[in-house]
Every structure is written in C-alpha cells, then in structure tokens.
C-alpha cells in the first residue's frame, strides 16, 4: 500500500489500530509484552525465570542483574516500543494531513495516538530511563537518527496524556480504545513517578470520583479478586487501560502471546498450556502473603524468617505425601501463585513437582494470574499454534485497584494518611470477600486470614510501608514491582535481600548475583542501537 491510500478515514483509523497493536509488542520479543513479566516482575523479585538453566538462557544474566548490552531481547524490546511510537507518529501525521476526516474524528484519533505514544515512552522511561524522544515531526530522512538520548522527557509524556485527557470522550463504541479517564489515570501515574504528589492526587481524585470505562462502566472494583483474571470478564469496571486480545484472528500474536511460555510444565490434558514452565513465583513472594493474627501482612519483613516462611513442597516428589501450609495467609496468594495441593483454577489440584520443569533450579511454584480456565479451552484460547497456551485474557495496563493504591501513595506523601488508609482498605476489602476465596471441597483451600487496617494511620513511614506492601500483594506478577522499587529508591536493599534469600534455595540461578546501585535500576541501552546511531548520539547508561 502506498501512503496515499492511507489518507482516507479508514486508512487513518487503520494506522491507529496498527499503533494499538504494538501495545502487545506484536512481532517482537516476548519481553516486549505489555505485562513486563521480565523487566517488571522477574527483576522485581515477584518471580524468577522458572524452567531449567538451559532454556531461554538469555534471561539468565538478566535476572541476575548482569544484563549484557548486546542482548537481543533487550534490543527487541527497544525496537518494539519505538515501533509503537513510529506508528503513533505516523497516525498523527496522516490524521493531520487528511482532508477526509471530520474535526471530531481528527481530534480523537490524534489524542488516542498521543496516549499510545505516551504509554510507549513511559515504558521506555521505566526500562531504559534515557532514550531519544521522537515526535511526529521527525522521520527517516529528516534527522531521526541524530536525536540524542536523554532522561528528561517527563514533560512530553505528561503533555501526551494531558492531550488525551482533554480531547478524548468519556465513552466510545469500541471498548478497546483509550478514553479520557484512561489518559487521566496515566497522567496521574506519570505525576506519581515524577514525585509530583499534589498534582497526582488532584488527578486521582477526579478519576476515582468520576472515572468510567470506555464502555461506560463507572470505575470500581470487581467483587472477587479472581474475576480480574478471567477472560470472560474482559473490559470490566476495573479495567482502565487494557490490551485487548482475541482468538481466531489468523495469528496467535493477537492473543496473550507474550505469556505463551508462562504455564506449568508437563501438565498433559490436566492442566493449561503445554509449556514451558517459565515465570515461577518466588519464595519471597509466596512468603509475603503470610498474615499475622490480625490478618495483616508482616510489614517488618519477617515473612522470610523462621516459621513465617511458607511450608512448601520444594524437594518433595509428587507421589510423596505433603501437607500445604496451615498458617494464616492472605487469600490473594491462591489467585497469584500455583502451589501444591491447592486447586489450580478449575483444573486439578496443583500436583507440585510433576508440573515443575526443574524444581531444584526454579522452586516449587507456578504462575496463576493470567492462566485460562479449563472450561475456556478453545473458547477463550487460540489453539492454532504449537502450544495451547494462547489465552485471550486482556492484560490491564492500569486497573482501578492500581489507581486506588497509587492515589493512596499520593495521599501518604501529601499527608492525608487516613485517606490513604481508606483507599488501601477498599482494595483489601475486596480481597477479603470470602466468596472470592479459593475453595476445596466447599471450604477455603487454606487458612485465609485477612482484615482491613482498622487502626488509624498516624505515622507517615508506617503508612507508606503499608501502602507499598499492599501494592506488592495486590499487583504481584503484573509487571509493576521492579519499577516501583526503583522509583521508591528501595531497589538495592530489597533486591539484594531477595537475592540473598532466594539463593539459599536456587543456588544455580542466583548464587553470587547482586544488584548494583546506580546501575541496575535501568537496563543497558542496546549495543546494536549504539552501533547504528553512534556513541555520540546514544550514550550508554551508567555502569554498563
């Protein structure tokens, strides 16, 4: 197709859809998926690579914070984000030049494209920090390769989301589009990352009060935690900005293709996917769900010590006897982590080692959140490729619980601790809904003890800790943790403690690994890009 053919309304709309398609990193590395399972969750200590040492070895150094600048997947992630930016910029150019678009459509399309562009730059900012900022005025032949990388482009991200907030309608016919409130939520998130707490709070206040989804549902929390992770509920009231996925499209790339390896291993017909045992939740994450006698998390970090540690089946054969942990647990654990003896969605009880590719290497747990149900096989999965593991469950880039917790953070920082407590409790109240518990033989599958923070928050530091820990529990495995740790300045302490703990079990994986401050907060700028554009244009990140 020549460019002229894309200047029609349908053409410009198609170009915009092309930009949406890149939310999923289509055609690029699995690492470029929207859920940041490697960069957000694995690097954040929610999970490890899983599987065995010799499989997808490129992740080995990355999860040990030894990522080489020459790594092809990191380069692929860079390319995927810029492909998205390029498509957004192309759309803006086409829309601006098009004579066939109504002003309303033109305004909307440009605003949608800007929100998408803002998202891709937000991703680049989180992952690489310092990158070239390219808008619609630069392209091949007009100096695009001469734009140097810089960490200073928060203002431009703000501007894109602001434009979205100002120019997009509240609702649209097609649920997959970003609307005014998605842009607003993202703007709030941007302010939060910039530590502009007052501005963030102001935005979040509006979002929480007035926000609605593109398909017109007032923002709220779904009743049961598990309902968030169920394709049948896609585009629910908690879904602020989601990557739409689908089957029967002629390509598995339109499903959750970035997660196709992230299923338990060797399950046969008893379990979902086929493959490949990646993305196994960490010991530390599992222990984090321990609650005290009051049903509150162990904010002092003692969850990794003594009897607070979860009883697990590490080193236990599947045909040997095992009794799961009997202690107090946050019920979200069994929506977030597959573990022995607990029903694995509507499949069978997780059999432990039989479903783990190499338990000595990667531990006893399986991923669970974005896994499809047995009843959904072939109706909400795409079976047209080599594995069954192509779910069609929207990944939510921003969900309402995330907004509540971000708002809580802002409230803590501006000093309104009780407002923060209210938001956190709203999230916890949903988690505590007993009808949402995982059950076995009609009874809760484990000893779930969870309660709200019933005592007023008076100490800012304690409140901050509680909010941050809630974020860890609520959003585990959803690709946020590492970026949160980095912006909080906690990455080195938290992650070195994580490595020290995990490497007691997973020696081959983590023995000798360490997180280096002022280096590992960001990934290296891909060497390939430096080679192409020149060292004077692209400066490598510190420490690499």
């Amino acid at each position: 197709l020549a460019q002229a053919q894309l200047s029609t309304k349908a053409g410009v709309e198609g170009s915009l859809l092309g930009a949406y398609a890149m939310l999923a990193g289509k055609g690029y590395t699995r690492f470029a998926g929207p859920n940041n399972w490697v960069y957000g969750s694995i690097l954040g200590g929610d999970a490890n690579k899983g599987t065995d040492p010799g499989d997808y070895t490129a992740i080995n150094p990355i999860q040990r914070y030894e990522a080489p600048a020459t790594d092809g997947d990191i380069n692929g992630s860079w390319n995927a984000k810029y492909e998205g930016i390029s498509r957004a910029n192309t759309t803006i150019r086409l829309a601006t030049a098009s004579t066939e678009l109504s002003d309303t459509d033109k305004k909307r399309i440009i605003a949608e494209a800007r929100v998408l562009r803002g998202h891709f730059y937000f991703e680049l900012k989180k992952i690489f920090n310092s990158v070239p900022y390219i808008d619609e005025t630069k392209d091949y032949g007009t100096g695009i390769e001469k734009v140097a990388n810089t960490p200073d482009f928060w203002d431009k991200i703000e501007a894109d989301f602001k434009a979205g907030m100002d120019n997009l309608p509240e609702t649209l016919d097609q649920a997959g589009r970003v609307n005014k409130w998605a842009a607003a939520s993202y703007l709030g998130k941007t302010y939060l990352f910039e530590k502009k707490y007052t501005e963030a709070k102001a935005i979040f206040d509006q979002v929480i009060a007035n926000g609605k989804t593109t398909n017109g549902k007032k923002y709220g929390l779904v009743a049961k935690y598990a309902e968030i992770f169920n394709a049948e509920n896609d585009n629910h009231e908690e879904s602020i900005f989601a990557v739409q996925t689908s089957m029967n499209t002629g390509s598995t790339n339109n499903s959750n293709a970035w997660d196709d390896l992230n299923y338990p291993y060797n399950t046969g017909a008893n379990g979902p996917g086929n493959c490949c045992g990646f993305f196994q939740p960490s010991f530390s994450l599992a222990n984090s769900f321990r609650t005290d006698a009051n049903g509150l998390p162990l904010l002092d970090g003692s969850y990794n010590t003594g009897s607070n540690q979860l009883v697990n089946d590490y080193g236990v054969e599947s045909n040997a006897a095992f009794t799961p942990d009997k202690g107090n647990l946050d019920p979200r654990i069994d929506h977030s982590i597959g573990r022995r003896g607990i029903p694995y969605l509507d499949w069978i009880d997780h059999p432990g080692k039989d479903w783990i590719r190499s338990q000595p290497y990667a531990g006893p747990y399986s991923p669970k959140k974005y896994v499809y149900y047995k009843t959904q096989e072939n109706t909400l999965t795409d079976g047209s490729s080599w594995t069954r593991g192509y779910a069609t469950m929207n990944y939510t880039i921003i969900r309402f619980a995330d907004v509540l917790l971000m708002a809580a953070e802002a409230e803590v920082e501006v000093g309104s601790l009780e407002k923060a407590r209210e938001y956190v409790n709203r999230v916890r109240a949903r988690a505590a809904n007993p009808s949402g518990f995982v059950t076995k033989a009609g009874k809760p599958a484990a000893n779930y003890v969870i309660s709200l923070y019933n005592t007023a928050w008076t100490d800012k530091a304690v409140a901050r800790k509680a909010v941050r820990f809630e974020r860890k529990l609520e959003l585990s495995g959803e690709g946020h943790r590492f970026f949160d740790l980095v912006r909080w300045g906690e990455a080195a302490t938290e992650l070195n403690a994580y490595l020290a703990y995990e490497s007691k079990f997973l020696v081959t994986m983590f023995g000798g690994a360490k997180f280096t401050s002022s280096k590992n907060e960001y990934l290296p700028i891909p060497q390939t890009q430096i080679d192409i554009q020149g060292k004077d244009i692209l400066k490598q990140n510190p420490g690499y």
Partner: protein
C-alpha cells in the same frame, strides 16, 4: 534467394556411401558428416556407415565426431568412401555452447568450463546442480543428503551479501532452478565464469552462468535409435557414523555426577533429584518411566488392569512407558536403508531435414529419513525441421512432475544444516525412552525428567507420511532460424516456464510429549508462476584471408515470473480421515494469499570475435539491460567486457618445442551485473497490513480482530545494479601430444555498489524493511586449475585422469560508513556469525577458549569473567584489560573453503571400465551447534546427551577435556556464548563415486538386437576423511551471510547402485 534455391535443387545429386572407422577398424557411430560450406549433412549410424547426397565433385566432406580429429575428404569422383578417423588428442575442437552462441576450446578467450554428460549421471541425485561438485573449477558446491534438495552453488566465490545463485540457462531460456531436468536428457553443461564469457548476460551474469543444452538428435535419414539408461540401488544411512549417545545407565550415572558437580560448585549438599534415577549416589533405572497418573520413575509394578481400562477409555492420553535399558538408537530409528531407482528412455532419430529427441525419465528415491521421498517424472521432446535449406524451426519442450515429501530446511532443503530438524531430535531424545510404549503408542517425554525433546519417529511417521508436495512444470521454447544470406544466421526464440505447485500437510495431535502438540492440524496450498523470454539474435561470420570474425547481436525481453500463491491452515476437524479433511471442515481456518508480478528485463547485446591466422583472438562484448526491479532513476545498466588470447603454438618458434602441442594465453576484463539481491519493491515506501503484527481487536471482542496498518518498507528509488568487475588471466595448454591438458586461470572479482540494507536505528520503527542501498563491496579472488592426463598404459589399458582445483579467497571489503559488521541468526541465544569488513562472508565470531579453569584459585587470579567457575571455559583476555567483556571476542573461523577440488580417475581395459571420483574441501570451518544440545548437561537438562560427557572436564583431564564440567549451570562461561570450542575443522575428502562397468562387445550385441549395452555397479560416498565430529561435514545453510552452522545436518551417506545402459 528463390532463384539460388531453385538452381541448387536442379544440380545433379550423387549418392556417396561409406563407413567411418577408427584406427582399430571398428565403425564409429554418431560422426557428423557435413558438406563443407553448407548445412547439408548426416551422421554415421551404429555401425559407422553413412550415406550422403553430394551435389558436386568439388564437394568436400567434413567428418567430425566427439573425441576424434576432424577430417576433410574431397568427394571427387568417388561414390564410396571409407574414412579412418584418429582420436582427437586435444579435444580443442570440442563445441562449447555458451548460451546464445557456440564456440570451441581452441578459439575461446574466456574462462569457460564444461562438464561431461556422463559425470552428471554418475551419482544419482535429485537435482543435477549437485553433480557440479568438484567437476568444475571455480565452483563451490555445498550440498546435503536430502533427495531433491537445493544446494549452495557459487561460481567464483560469494559476490554479494545475498542472491549469489548463478543464472541457469536451459536451451536458451533462463530459469531459477534446474531441478526439473532429468540428467539423462542433458547433452552438455557449460559454466561461464568470467566477464568475458558471462557479460553477454549482463545484469544477471555476476554470479556466473550455467548453460545446459538438452539432447537434440541428428539430422539424417536413419532409423529410430532407442536408448535405455537405468539404475537401481539403495542408500545406507550410516548409523555407525552418527554421533554416539550415552547409554541409559551412563546417562543416569552422569546425571548423578552433575548433581555432585552442582553441589561442589555451589558449596551445598548433594541432592539427587532426578525423578527417574533414584535418590542415591548410585543411579538406578526404574521399572517404568511413566504410567498415566505417575510421571516419575516407578520401581515395582503398576496396576496394569486399571491402565488398560484407562487406555481403552482415553487412548490418546494414556501411556505406560518402560525404559529401554539397552538404549534406543534414535538415529537408527529415524533412518532406513533407502531404495532408489532411475530409468530413462531416449528416442532419437531424424531425416535429412529433421531431427528429434524424445526423453522419458523417472526417478523414485527414498530419503534415508523415514517418510522422506523424492519422485520425478519427466517427458522431453526436442525437434528441429528444415523448412527449407535456409529456414529451420525447432522446439524444446519438457514436462516434469516432481514431488518432494518430508523435506526439511529453508529454501528447498538448503537450510537443513542449521534447522532444528528431526536429526537433531534424534540426538536430543534420551536413549532410555523406547520408540513405543506398552500400549503400542509412541513413547515420549511425558515421563518426567527428560525435558522437551519429541519422539522424532512419531514426528516423521505421523506428520509426514500422509503429506503431499508436488509441482508440475512445463518448460520450453520454440525457435526459428533463417540464413538469409551466406554466413548470416538470424534466430528468434520464444520460451518460458509454467510452474504449478500443490502441497498438503497433516499434523496429528499427540499428548505424550512434555510439550504436547494439542491439536490435529491440516494445511494445504497451491500456486503458479509463469515466466517468459523472447530473444532475437543475429550472427554473421566473416572470413577474409587470415582474418576471421563473428559479429553477433541480440535483443531480448523477459519476465522472471508472474504468479500467485494461496495457502490455508486450520485445526481439529471432526475427523482426520484422509478422505474427509479439507479446508472447509477445519476449525479456525486461516487463509493467506499473495501475488507477484515478476521483474521485466529489456536488453540489447552484441559481441565481436576476431581472430587473425588462428594466432591472435580478440573478443569484445557489451550488454545493456533495463530492469523494472529498480526505480526509474537507475534502471539501465551497461556491462562491457573485453578479452584476448594469443595462441603461442601458432608462432613459428614454438614449432621447435615438440612437447607443447598447443598453448594459448588468455586475458579478460569486464563488468557483470547482479540484481538478485534486492526486492523489486525496494524502490517504494510502503505500508502493509498483517494479522500477526498490525491487527487489533479494538472492539473488545475475544474473537477476531480488526485490520491495522504499519509501515513495511522504506524505499530507495535510486538503487541500481551491483557491479562485479572481473579480471581473468588464463593458460590453456596441451602437452605431449595430448597426453596432458592444462587449464589454469587466475581471477579476481571485485563487486562494487553492493546492495546492503544498512541497519535502520530502532527509533525509525523496526517493522519497516530498510532500503537496500548500493554501498558495500566484496572481493573474491582465486586460482582455478585443471589437469587432464590420458593415455594408454598398455595396448588394452587406457586411462584418463582429471584433477580440478580451485582456490578461493573471499573478503567483505566494505559495508557502509560507520558499519563494520552485521550479525547472522541467533541459535539458542548464541550469535555465532558476524559478517565483517576484512573477513570472509559468514565468519564465526566469539570468545577464544584457552582452556578450562582448573581451580577456584585460578578463577580468582584470572581476568574477571561472568559465570566463571572450576571446569568451565576460560576465555582469552584479548585486549588485556583484566576482564572478559564482549570486546574480547574475535573471529574464530570461516565456513568458506579455501580449496575445493576433485580427482576423477578412469580406466578402460578391453570391455571393462572403471572410474572413481574423489572430492575434497579444505580450509572451511564448521560451527558445531549440535554440541550445544548434546555436550552440556545444563542445556535442556535431562534430554539426551552425547558420549563426550565421559570426557567432560575433571581435574585429572584438565585441558585435555572435550568439554566443560558436567553441571546444570548455563551461562557465558559454559554453554551460553559463541566461542572457539564450537568451531571445528570442516575439511574433508570424500570418495564420491566408484564404478565398474562392462560393455558388451559389439560382436555379441548383434545377437541381442542391441547397438550398445553396458552394465555397471557403483558405490557412492564410499568414505569420508575428516576431523569433523558431527554427522557430515557438508554443512551449508539457507543464506550466504549465515552458513556453516551445524545444528543437525542431513548427511550425505553411502549408496550402492547397479546400472544398465542399452541402445537399440
């Protein structure tokens, strides 16, 4: 004209009859007898007899036959002529077909090689191009053992970064591939190597031109001659030569050893955690590997009745797997002794004014891999008629049905070596797993602890057995030749090729793998292409005194092929019954189609050959090509070439040196073009829509998605031809009265304006193809050397010996400003190839292994290296900065052979003939990627491992170990980096053919009613001398910038044939 014609017909005709015999007084069949200066002629029959109508007593008859010296005899008043021809010692008169024209060895000023027809048929292959290996100097051939595979054929090096296939011309029609040809139909094969020879093909000549001419028959009144050539035999898969794998007990023992090594490396207590081999230091094998419900090793009995019931209820998902304690030899299981047969019938004949050849061929060959087969049925009809004395019309026509099933590797089999094929799967499958389980289902890695290999027997038998894949091909041309005045020939030819292919592919659900294939699936597709060429040429011969000249010119238009493809796929039809499955009954059908409109060429060309007194020869030629492949800015290319030769032996002073029978010194310079390596769309900036990369379900549905667009290509309207500038200096010599013939060429080919896709920065949007720009350059140089020695050892024992040698140096001279390299494909995280300035194409790049770390102290005292540990690779700190970084990588080998050569030895004793052919390739390296899978415990831990485990690093072995310590870790210091340990010497010498034949004496033939009969036995690929540890050192690859990687090659193995050649 009419008048002249009328006059000549009234002249008094007189019949001259006779017999042509050799010095042994045996009749010589097939000798051409022409009345000098006319086109009237005939051919001697099987007994050497001939009959011709002479018009005048001043007529001179010219007798010429292949292998004999031509002889001229004046008719005078004779009506009976018995002529004795002596054998031609120099073969200088041998006619060489050069595409548009013919020349002969004596007059040629260019670098041209020919291949004997019988050399093409000596080894039965599915694709005649394979037989050029070692037969032609200056041609690199890398092939594999798949029947019907494509091969890497490179004439004089690798001229460009891609698209280096030579141009094939069959009967004047350019084609992309010669796989449709039946070798028995081929009369002659000529390889045009330098510009002086090839530039007449202009923009498509830079990679050399290979010209095939098919059999034509001869003009004379004679009865039909029928020939039969057949062979029948088999190919042995060479099971003994396959890499040795650990036995079940050894694998178990080495697993426990790895756990000990892991514990030592990590300073922890040993845990024997393998689900099959027991939890004690001494490994034991279980009684069952798997019984549905229990995935880990079972010691003791199983509830067989319950399992039987489960199997009856759900056979696809119930398995009971016993260990094969003796060990399964998976390579043996996936291979077989593969039969082959080939039969050709040739019918030729003619009248005074016509000739014809009809060829029927069939080849039916099984691959050594299960369910892999090749079939070719061909029909050829070549005819030519004299419409008058001055007008001839002729045609060449071929229909071919060709079927290749079970072929693996990209580009029609070319890419097999670096594909993770079923050959690799045979290495990866643990020997303890049996082929079948106790219920007769295929057994596989559903049993715990063996990681993810899939039973390759199941994959081949289930997924290939019912597949179909064929094409039907019509090829040919029709031509008209007119001689309007004496010595002027006008020729017009229109030709083309129509190709239609179809395939169907069934894949079956199988749940017995650790990573099961969950769905039945079916796909099928078809497509066609049509290409045409219309050529008009004129040739005028001039002889004035001692000056002789041929002036040749032409005009040509062609299209490389228009066509369409359509393919569909889908899963889980209600039944996989072969009579039921089609695209209408599958679920989730996906249909893709594409179209292409080919590239148009419009060309003018001309050539002048001048010679003086058979002493000095000059040739000048030029071609002007216009091609739609390029933008309007640079569509036209002009390619000139000049060459000259000095026939030294024509000088008086040389007559004094009797041992030099003939000596000619040649030199040539010229330019040739290459346009293969660029997409015709390169001139345009384009947008595209793609289900996999730009669709999005924007409406929020879970079913279906909406089309989106993305930029797919950034155009370069200025791209033009790549130009190869070649220089060639050669010597042709005939020594000792024809006992020796020597051809020596030194050549150099500099390709400039190479089309290179300068990598785009990611910020531009990496889904767009970068434009190809004319920026890079490449240098190839070499020496081609051929010696032929023949003679008689005794009266009855004749011998001939041919030695072809080619030396090649290939180097990338430049890529683009600030671009010094680009990388090849990544294999399991390893990028072994870097195409870099100053190195050969596809060079291997990585760390240099200087040994293994002997102790923790050595690790500490050595330069810092990620993942360093005792028994792991120790890399060289090349830049001496005290740490091992990517900057310490270097070039560690090249897959380009520096020398290739072939020796052919023929002996003839009375009616017995013997010949052998040896090929060698020296100086090429192989990156043995298959070792990544078999030589590390930690790469897909639990999968099958090779016996080199037993020589893995121990303190006692130290640096003489074959690989690093046996352990789970997988990192830069173990399996995770490209390094010199993977690189092996790929040089080899192979005896490719040994055959003994017996020709039935003429005296006995008459009784049998035959004119010719020969029976032969032959063996191919008898032995290979190599240091390479993989299965076969003939390691190719699908693209020039990425070859020499062996992930599990399809080997060329020994075969045995019995052949029969008959003439009626």
């Amino acid at each position: 004209l009419m008048l002249l014609y009328a006059v000549s017909t009234v002249a008094q005709d007189r019949k001259v009859t006779g017999k042509v015999v050799g010095v042994d007084n045996q009749g010589i069949p097939g000798v051409s007898i022409m009345i000098k200066g006319t086109r009237t002629g005939t051919t001697s029959d099987a007994s050497g007899s001939f009959s011709i109508n002479s018009k005048s007593s001043s007529d001179v008859l010219v007798f010429s036959g292949i292998g004999f010296k031509a002889k001229e005899v004046s008719v005078g008043g004779q009506t009976t002529l018995n002529v004795v021809l002596s054998e031609d010692v120099s073969a200088l008169e041998e006619v060489i077909v050069t595409g548009y024209a013919t020349t002969n060895k004596k007059e040629s000023t260019a670098a041209i090689s020919t291949v004997k027809a019988k050399d093409l048929t000596a080894v039965p292959s599915g694709n005649v191009e394979q037989q050029l290996q070692g037969r032609v100097t200056g041609v690199t051939v890398i092939t594999n053992g798949q029947p019907g595979t494509s091969s890497i054929i490179r004439v004089r090096g690798f001229g460009a970064l891609g698209g280096n296939e030579p141009l094939y011309v069959v009967d004047g029609v350019p084609v992309g591939s010669t796989d449709f040809l039946s070798p028995d139909d081929i009369e002659s094969t000529t390889v045009l190597k330098d510009a002086a020879a090839a530039s007449i093909y202009g923009a498509r000549a830079a990679n050399g031109v290979i010209v095939y001419t098919t059999k034509k028959g001869t003009k004379k009144a004679r009865k039909l001659e029928v020939s039969y050539d057949g062979l029948i035999g088999f190919t042995d898969p060479n099971v003994a030569g396959a890499p040795k794998m650990l036995s079940p007990q050894e694998q178990a023992d080495w697993t426990q050893q790895a756990y000990r090594n892991n514990a030592a490396a990590n300073g922890t207590a040993v845990q024997y955690t393998h689900p099959q081999y027991g939890s004690s230091a001494t490994a034991t094998l279980p009684d069952y590997l798997y019984a549905t419900g229990v995935g880990s090793g079972i010691r003791g009995s199983v509830d067989i009745n319950a399992l039987r019931a489960a199997y009856a209820a759900n056979p696809g998902n119930t398995f009971l797997i016993k260990p094969n304690k003796a060990g399964t030899n998976w390579y043996d299981e996936i291979t077989r002794v593969a039969p082959i047969q080939r039969h050709s019938l040739g019918f030729s004949g003619g009248t005074e004014s016509s000739r014809y050849y009809i060829g029927l061929g069939v080849q039916d060959q099984s691959g050594i891999l299960l369910a892999n087969s090749f079939k070719r049925y061909s029909f050829r009809a070549n005819t030519e008629f004299d419409l008058s004395k001055k007008v001839r019309i002729g045609e060449n026509l071929q229909f071919t049905y060709r079927s290749v099933v079970g072929q693996a590797g990209g580009n029609n089999g070319l890419g097999i070596a670096d594909s993770e094929s079923e050959v690799l799967a045979a290495y990866r499958m643990p020997t303890i797993i049996p082929v079948f389980d106790e219920f007769g289902s295929y057994a596989s890695t559903i049993a715990q602890g063996f990681n993810n290999p899939r039973n390759p027997v199941r994959r081949l038998m289930l997924n290939n057995s019912n597949d179909g894949n064929f094409n039907v091909n019509g090829f040919g041309n029709i031509y008209l030749e007119v001689d309007p005045i004496e010595n002027l020939t006008l020729r017009s030819s229109i030709g083309g090729q129509y190709n239609n292919y179809y395939y169907k592919d069934y894949n079956y659900r199988y749940l017995g793998d650790s990573e099961p294939e969950a769905s039945n699936s079916f796909s099928e597709g078809t497509g066609y292409s049509f290409s045409w060429v219309f050529s008009n040429t004129a040739s005028y011969k001039l002889k004035v005194d001692k000056h002789a000249a041929t002036i040749f010119g032409g005009i040509e238009a062609l299209n490389t092929g228009v066509g369409r493809n359509i393919a569909g796929s889908g899963i889980n039809p209600f039944s996989m019954d072969l009579d039921y499955v089609n695209m209408s009954v599958v679920q989730n059908p996906v249909v893709n189609s594409s179209l292409f409109s080919g590239v148009n060429f419009y060309s003018l060309f001309g050539k002048v050959d001048y010679s003086f007194n058979d002493k000095y020869y000059l040739t000048a030629l030029v071609r002007r090509d216009g091609s739609s492949r390029f933008g309007a800015n640079s569509r036209i290319g002009v390619f000139p070439a000049f060459s000259a030769a000095w026939r030294v032996t024509s000088e008086e002073f040389m007559k004094e040196i009797p041992f030099i029978s003939d000596l000619k010194i040649r030199g040539g310079w010229g330019q040739m073009g290459n346009s293969n390596n660029v997409n015709p769309n390169n001139q345009y900036s384009l947008y595209a829509s793609d289900r996999g990369t730009s669709f999005y379900p924007i409406s929020g549905t879970n079913n279906g998605a909406d089309a989106g667009f993305y930029r797919s290509r950034i155009g370069n309207p200025d791209a033009k031809w790549e130009t190869a500038v070649t220089t060639n200096i050669g010597i042709d010599a005939t020594l000792l009265n024809g006992r020796f013939e020597v051809v020596l060429d030194w050549w150099r080919k500099d390709t400039k304006d190479l089309l290179f896709q300068v990598p785009l920065p990611g910020v531009v949007g990496a889904s767009a193809s970068a434009p190809s720009v004319n920026i890079a350059s490449m240098m190839n140089s070499g020496i081609d050397f051929q010696i032929i020695n023949k003679g008689k050892l005794t009266k009855d024992l004749k011998y001939d010996l041919t030695w072809n040698s080619s030396f090649l140096k290939n180097e990338i001279s430049s890529l683009a400003p600030n671009v010094s390299y680009f990388e090849g494909t990544t294999y399991r995280g390893i990028s072994p190839i870097r195409n870099a300035v100053g190195q050969s194409i596809s060079s291997f790049f990585g760390y240099e292994v200087i040994g293994y770390f002997a102790s923790a102290d050595e690790v500490k005292s050595s330069p810092a290296q990620d993942g360093a540990g005792v028994g792991r690779f120790k890399y060289k700190d090349l830049n001496g900065d005290g740490k091992i970084t990517p900057d310490d990588r270097t070039f560690i080998g090249s897959p380009v052979p520096t020398y290739t050569g072939g020796v052919n030895i023929g002996l003839q004793y009375k009616n017995f003939d013997f010949s052998t052919y040896i090929y060698t390739s020296l100086g090429n390296k192989i990156f043995n990627m298959s070792k990544w899978f078999t030589d590390f415990f930690g790469t897909f831990e639990g999968s099958g491992k090779g016996v080199r485990a037993k020589d893995s690093w121990t303190p006692a072995l130290g640096n003489s170990a074959q690989g690093p310590i046996w352990e789970s870790a997988s990192n830069l210091s173990t399996s995770g980096a490209s390094n010199s340990w993977y690189v092996e010497d790929g040089s080899y010498l192979r005896m490719q053919n040994l055959s003994i034949g017996y020709t039935v004496p003429k005296s006995a033939l008459a009784k049998l009613g035959l004119s010719r009969a020969r029976i032969s036995v032959s063996a191919n690929n008898i032995f290979t001398v190599t240091k390479y540890k993989g299965l076969d050192p003939g390691v190719g690859g699908a693209v020039d910038t990425n070859f020499g990687i062996d992930v599990g090659n399809y080997p060329v193995t020994r075969s045995f044939n019995v052949g029969l050649n008959l003439g009626f």
